[in-house]
């Protein structure tokens, strides 16, 4: 079953100016449900730009992106965000936790705009903390966490709205190889629990990992291998 379908997607920056630059130059591909796909490529190859378009963080300059039966490439930001927060969970390279807030507050952050009942939201967060062995750290400020813990908090935050698809951008860049392997096994668990995972990475621990179902290689904004 197709989940995400890209048709001739292009993205330009500084359009119409002398430093115009096409980061993505026409990509047509699909991503399937319940699999772990890795976008591989050197920095500047367009992986992050592509991921941000798939994840509804930005819009392609031209081309079409379909999410299940809905075209999302022409949605204005307001509606992209609505799609995004119900469909996607994000894990960023530098974890991007907000310092000064506690672990549990950081985790609940993406759910604030949904206006859930406070007790309901809190119990959801507690369940995730439990699952990722962070229950005793719930009220600590995030600055106190180790790298591995911060990564797990970031995963919890990505999962708080129970998204279908997880997007991880260079998730292992700040982890040593032991933690990286641990992270991959966590992804494996999530995939087995029914999540679709999209990772961008140039770390062999990731793209050579047995849990990855498919590797798509990008170069200069084009897919060079792993199509279809």
């Amino acid at each position: 079953m197709m989940l995400i379908e890209l048709t001739d997607v292009r993205k330009a920056f500084n359009q119409g100016k002398p430093n115009e630059f096409w980061a993505i130059q026409g990509i047509t591909t699909q991503f399937e449900v319940n699999r772990i796909t890795c976008l591989k490529g050197a920095s500047g190859s367009g992986k992050t730009t592509l991921m941000s378009m798939i994840g509804c963080l930005s819009r392609p300059t031209s081309g079409r992106i379909r999410l299940q039966d809905r075209t999302i490439s022409s949605l204005p930001e307001r509606f992209l965000t609505q799609v995004r927060r119900h469909t996607f969970g994000f894990i960023f390279q530098r974890f991007n936790l907000i310092p000064g807030l506690s672990v549990v507050e950081n985790i609940m952050l993406p759910a604030y705009p949904l206006g859930l009942k406070a007790s309901c939201l809190r119990s959801r967060a507690d369940r995730l903390l439990e699952q990722f062995l962070l229950a005793d750290k719930a009220s600590n400020p995030v600055e106190w966490l180790s790298g591995g813990e911060a990564q797990r908090v970031a995963i919890c935050r990505a999962l708080i709205n129970d998204p279908q698809i997880l997007i991880a951008d260079e998730p292992t860049a700040n982890l040593d190889s032991r933690l990286s392997r641990e992270f991959m096994s966590l992804l494996d668990q999530l995939s087995k629990a029914g999540k679709t995972v999209l990772i961008s990475s140039h770390d062999p621990v990731v793209f050579d990992s047995p849990v990855v179902d498919r590797v798509v290689e990008l170069e200069d904004g084009l897919v060079v291998s792993g199509e279809g």
Partner: protein, 377 residues
């Protein structure tokens, strides 16, 4: 609907947390904002209270005062004018008044001297206001010596001190026996300073004034309603001028607020970027910032207004004292009667919260449109 309210609660919670984390910045803004509201509110409360005092004072003054004009200057009114007025319909009482000013070189100040019949003062007794008592160091039973028109020294015994609701007016007042007054200033028995008429029905005042100008062609009737109206416009005009002067500081504040709102630290910018990335929408970030503005404005308004209230009504506008002192040496340590006016509150709101809100719209928007994929770059 409930979800919408809960959402706002989350935003308020979050923005309160953010403000606590950036205490310095929030406190700085709050302080300046509060000071601005404090200044404006002080001016408004003060002039409004002054006006109320004046109105309260005029409330028991006679409806019509008649002055005599000779060669364009007001002069003493002959006592037989009272007879010439005769019996006018609607006039319940008419009498002559004696009053004037006495310059006391010892304290370099003017006293307002009035002859009083109600107080049954003997010829040597006077009643004085707090201001005079304070500057001359007088208390009941002491003597005050005044120089008469011929240069003779007259000594008066202080019978009591004036206690009045509105000390602002009574502070420099000196009441004495009419006979004593005439002797002190050398005024003939047949003259009065002016005449006053009491009229029961306000609708008849205008008519009576017209009749007076016919009966006494050289007189000028002054109506209480006219004085009130003049006071009204004088005080609101004065308030307006003060406000225009203060608008400069409001403008400075607007620039300050704009600067504070747009000058985000890298850390704050990243924070907004994270919020956008994890699923907050532009309008939601703006909403969150809107609550920040509401909280700051509300706090500044409450604190500033309360401080102004205390300043004006409990410390007698202590900060304005140097300005007001120029008016009279006998500056009274008066207590104004507290009064709050809805129109005034609304106006104050328009002069402070509105400019602040406008100043922050553009910076808030600029913050809110931070690219959601910023944190991925």
């Amino acid at each position: 609907m409930i979800a919408l309210l809960r959402k706002q609660r989350y935003f308020i919670d979050y923005t309160l947390g953010t403000m606590m984390r950036h205490k310095g910045k929030s406190l700085g803004l709050l302080t300046v904002y509060t000071i601005i509201i404090f200044m404006l509110a002080s001016v408004m409360l003060f002039s409004h209270a002054m006006r109320s005092e004046a109105v309260a004072l005029l409330a028991d003054s006679p409806e019509i005062v008649v002055q005599r004009i000779q060669a364009g200057r007001s002069v003493m009114v002959p006592a037989d004018y009272l007879q010439r007025i005769g019996k006018l319909r609607g006039v319940t009482e008419k009498r002559g008044r004696l009053w004037g000013y006495y310059y006391d070189p010892a304290v370099k100040a003017n006293y307002t001297v009035m002859a009083s019949e109600q107080d049954q003062l003997s010829i040597n007794d006077i009643v004085i206001g707090e201001g005079i008592a304070r500057t001359r160091g007088l208390s009941i039973g002491d003597y005050l010596t005044l120089r008469s028109h011929e240069g003779k020294a007259f000594s008066f015994r202080v019978l009591r001190l004036l206690e009045s609701e509105s000390e602002l007016i009574s502070s420099d007042l000196l009441l004495m026996n009419p006979e004593g007054y005439r002797r002190l200033f050398g005024i003939d028995e047949s003259l009065y300073t002016d005449l006053v008429l009491s009229v029961r029905n306000p609708r008849e005042i205008q008519k009576i004034a017209e009749k007076l100008t016919l009966l006494l062609p050289d007189s000028r009737p002054i109506l209480r309603t006219e004085i009130l109206r003049t006071y009204e416009s004088l005080f609101s005009w004065r308030q307006g001028v003060m406000l225009i002067l203060l608008l400069g500081s409001v403008l400075a504040f607007v620039i300050f607020a704009w600067d504070k709102a747009s000058g985000l630290s890298a850390e704050e910018r990243k924070e907004i970027g994270i919020l956008k990335a994890v699923g907050w929408e532009t309008s939601e970030v703006m909403r969150m910032k809107f609550w920040e503005g509401v909280i700051i404005s509300l706090m500044a308004f409450l604190i500033g207004y309360l401080a102004a209230y205390l300043h004006v009504f409990y410390t007698s506008a202590g900060l304005f004292e140097p300005v007001l002192k120029g008016w009279s040496v006998l500056y009274p340590s008066f207590q104004l009667t507290p009064s709050v006016d809805g129109l005034q509150l609304a106006t104050l709101f328009f002069f402070t919260v509105l400019p602040y809100t406008l100043a922050t719209i553009v910076p808030v928007w600029q913050t809110s449109i931070t690219d959601p994929d910023l944190v991925m770059r």
